[in-house]
Subunit: 360 residues, 4 copies
């Protein structure tokens, strides 16, 4: 099988690097174009990128020449790790030009015809692509987003609880520094310290989660009707966002039933079989002091969400902690999974991996 060429927008940044790292050895996709700022354009990727992940960039990618954002590029599939402002119009232009754009940027996430997708949770939102293409007159192109990295573990943990009726949700996050990119948070703010505020994230927690857990109506997304209160804090952790979740349910399930719901939850076909999908997207940890960012963020190669400490909440009924890797599951890894779903759904022209049918 001939691999599909992909381009990475914002390739030199922290999330761009994670895209490159995760795509190394991918069975369907290969990084063929790297796009950076005008300062980087013309250099090799190895020269242009200050690699902040472990080890060094893959040699093949390090040798690619960085292109400018306004250059022409030919990869049918584009992953965007652009800053918000840069993403806003460029992503739409590229989709209009026929590229399938899977974006991690927040700029276009809440547009009504852009699916905000986490395949294990709302794979059926992919059908919003049809609405999008029709409404915008796009031919082959598409724009599909993944959510904010802190929203991810929340939505993942709540999906199996939807059947109990989610009434109210209270979230307090403890977020890793990689969520702010590189250089991002100054070490002078993170030694012997935490920050009680993360710019922008509380709003995203309160809006994106409802869109993701919403229902596709054929026309658009009917958001979940739930009251959400979010507090976002920053802690001296490299990777892995932990969220302390309290939830009020309409029903009163046993704690053991909820744990069973999590442990048995599986993504619907064909998501289950996608190359980047973990066999089970959720794991419940029984030790009283888990999940922990450093010890649990790598579960399922960084694609699983770990849950622990489920117990009664005197105020809202139930409470627990959920954790996932913010730059894998919560960013680049999710975008890649979205692209894989697009591929099997036949939404990437001229590239068909198999004869799957969507389980929506």
């Amino acid at each position: 099988m001939q691999k599909l060429d992909v381009a990475i927008l914002g390739a030199t940044g922290a999330v761009g690097q994670r895209f490159i790292q995760l795509l190394e050895g991918h069975p369907w996709f290969q990084v063929s174009e790297v796009i950076g700022s005008s300062r980087s354009a013309g250099k090799t990727y190895g020269e242009a990128a200050r690699w902040v992940l472990d080890d060094n960039p893959p040699a093949r990618v390090a040798a690619l020449t960085v292109k400018a954002l306004d250059a022409d590029f030919c990869s049918p599939l584009v992953f965007s790790a652009l800053p918000k402002e840069a993403a806003k119009t460029r992503e739409l232009e590229l989709a209009a030009a026929g590229h399938v754009v899977c974006t991690n940027a927040s700029a276009n996430r809440m547009l009504p015809d852009v699916p905000l997708m986490l395949p294990e949770v709302n794979a059926d939102h992919i059908d919003l692509i049809n609405v999008q293409r029709q409404r915008r007159g796009w031919n082959g192109g598409a724009l599909i987003a993944n959510s904010n990295c802190t929203v991810m573990p929340v939505v993942m943990a709540l999906k199996p609880l939807l059947k109990y009726g989610i009434r109210r949700l209270h979230l307090v996050s403890e977020q890793a520094v990689s969520g702010a990119g590189y250089p991002g948070v100054s070490s002078m703010d993170m030694i012997d310290n935490i920050l009680p505020y993360v710019p922008g994230d509380e709003d995203k927690m309160q809006t994106e989660s409802l869109k993701m857990l919403g229902r596709f109506t054929g026309e658009g997304i009917d958001e979940l009707q739930t009251v959400v209160s979010a507090t976002c804090t920053r802690v001296p952790v490299l990777d892995g966002h932990l969220v302390n979740i309290s939830v009020e349910l309409a029903d009163q399930p046993e704690l053991s039933s909820i744990i069973e719901d999590w442990e048995t939850y599986q993504a619907p076909a064909p998501v289950l079989d996608l190359p980047s999908a973990p066999a089970y997207p959720l794991q419940y940890l029984y030790q009283i002091d888990r999940p922990q960012p450093r010890r649990d963020r790598q579960a399922g190669k960084g694609m699983m969400t770990s849950i622990g400490r489920l117990r009664e909440c005197p105020v809202l009924g139930y409470k627990f902690a959920a954790l996932s890797h913010n730059t894998v599951r919560g960013a680049a890894g999710c975008s890649i999974l979205n692209a894989e779903l697009m591929a099997v759904a036949g939404c990437i022209e001229g590239f068909r991996v198999a004869e799957y049918a969507l389980a929506s």
Copy 2:
């Protein structure tokens, strides 16, 4: 004025050291006896204590010989930084023998006739000492406790809001490692990591806060009737516990009124004038990313509580963050303030600082 001799129980531990540090230069009290484990007894304090605070122990205290816990000692005033098990009976024995014991240990905090005191909040609970002495037949001795270090910023911040009716309370803490003593939390658990659980603290948050905010009836304490949900986590911070507080009030005050309540709150006389009392026990910080442990824990020499981020909570109505120094305000400093209140209230026999009247 002749200073009052004081003994420190558990003097070599982290909180014991903080007692010694804070009492250096105290206008009324001087450390005359240091009590440690049988392993330390007989050595000088300088030899026995692995000093974990900044700098070195005061030279005068370093030269004292450490006594065993079962030794006789003669200081009328005793500060206890004992571990829970050791504290349980020994503190009561010492009070029975005529010592005024101000304890930071949790063992006897919730006994119905032991005041759990934070002078700025519930100075009138000191009258429970009369009940205690009468019931137990103690003559001159007394046992008075301060609360868990994480409860402290919560109770302090809520006191001025009591008038609005506190219905439900949701707490998520991010606690410093010094709360676990020395060596306490392993560095292998705190590098690039947080722990989503602190043994014992969630229960204390849910019980001690209600006793402290309760009403002295003449016979005992009528606890506040409020539903509390607490989650306690550990973060890589040396000193300073931050608590994310959401609260439901019976009334609906403006945010600005609440801030004004905090900024104008003062302890009742005579607490206001005690040597260790800050002029204002609370400060509100208007920067969106404050309070922060490292930058704000020293406010008021570690005795103030810093509050920030007051805003609407979609779930409970109001939310904000409160921070105080856990081993000063939340431990040794509060015990010392309690002792100062005992002194001005004439509850330490043979030692009368002034002609104050309690404002209860």
Copy 3:
């Protein structure tokens, strides 16, 4: 091929855990017995061990019952992660009883007839086993040690430079906390701090390095005659010891020649082909700010040593930095490599992997 049963002494500690983690899926060896303290004996490993590495212990090992140190056990191959005192006599008893003991403990390292082995550096020291067996009358048993974890990157980096004549050596280490085990270093010592002293390690740097770089004479080891000065410090890093090395050489090679020596260095056969041996044990990093513990410790699955910053030293001639993973390359991983070498050399009775000849 039937795998060889191995026992882990000190299995519940931090290095014991690393043995278990690294042996999971090993092609020749399988963990069949786990030995712990009397407190752990009788419990399953899953209950007894507070797992401090990422994720959880392998399920198969978690189900094993922990045996006491004085129990009989039957595995021919024993890995020892015992504390020094416990190791001293027990390791010798076990070797005398016919077990091949590969130890990470420091207790017996400097015994004249115990090889202190790092296969890429001194594989020929394995012949000291014959001297050992003959002198002690052991039949089938043997004791073989690996060095202190900070010595490892030094010896590895110096091996290719031996030909230039190493006259004087000045070492300043910056060591990770996992080197002290769990709980080991208190978080109160490691937040916003470093420790300028690591108990015991400076001596080991100054003695073990000379034995390892010494020459096997047929009777014993002729130590390298070099003056060594070592300073060991502790830094807030989880894994990965970095050593700042200045060296005076008898010859004056070009910097580029030294780099080439490192880059082309390969272990002699059969070490090269052992399952845990990296293809190249050394890598030179050209970026000016490398090696870094977090980014480079995993090179070669934690078995490579990374070197960087080679430049002239105005005082001693040459200086550079070397780093390796202290609990993989510097402890459990090296012990396993030693055992693999014993296996191919036919030194483990009844277990022969192949028809290798030693390249000594």
Copy 4:
């Protein structure tokens, strides 16, 4: 006594903030003008500065309006915390215009007629001001520099050893992040990591130390003739640079003599009596694991240098560790001390604190 007005250049940066903090309550000087970038100019200091130190800026300074670097300002005394490029010409212009400029910038430190001063070490270098004024035709103005923050503890510790003849010097530093300013070092580089390189500092260690320990000839500075090798590394510590120092001396003093030299060392009059001078600039710590950055950086209000671990060095003869607070002793505090010396020496026109005579 009327306080002298001072201006702070680069007032909003990390070192600028430290100047403001240390000058609060200074007996001779008061901050009257704050100079920032064009982006800050026109705002109040409170608005313009993102305060990175503890607590908040002093209220009086927070209310000052920030001036641009090219504005006219009238303070006779100017402290410069400018970046290197900005400092280069502006500092000379200001001195030419009659201001006494005490700079922390590196730009002009090594000019032959600029004293690189640490009053406890080389107060007599102040006479170079006469040479400077004469050569440049300056009338009242002057430029005086303090050294790089890592050089400071080295020079301070070596001064009392000059009499033994310093032949060779080998330095390995472990430096705090505040040395790089704010935001400076990314938290992504400092969590679970160290950096083996600090841009520019190794050169400064090898040159500035020799100028500072040099002899004023009447015409200029005769640098110390010593071979220096420096390695600079960055560690996750907020404040406090520790340097591992090995030194070869011409004489062979006893270790105890050296300790006595340090413990008895006092600055010459009038330095001894300057408001910011500690009574003793050096302290020797006998505990084997000291000095430590967090526990010892505040010694003497951050103005003392702490030394520990003196022992024999097999390679160079003697080795020890020295530590000082890099933004107090190593930056703003030293500049202020320099200005105090200028004041008592009568080098600030129209401002004379007392009738001192220099002890040169």
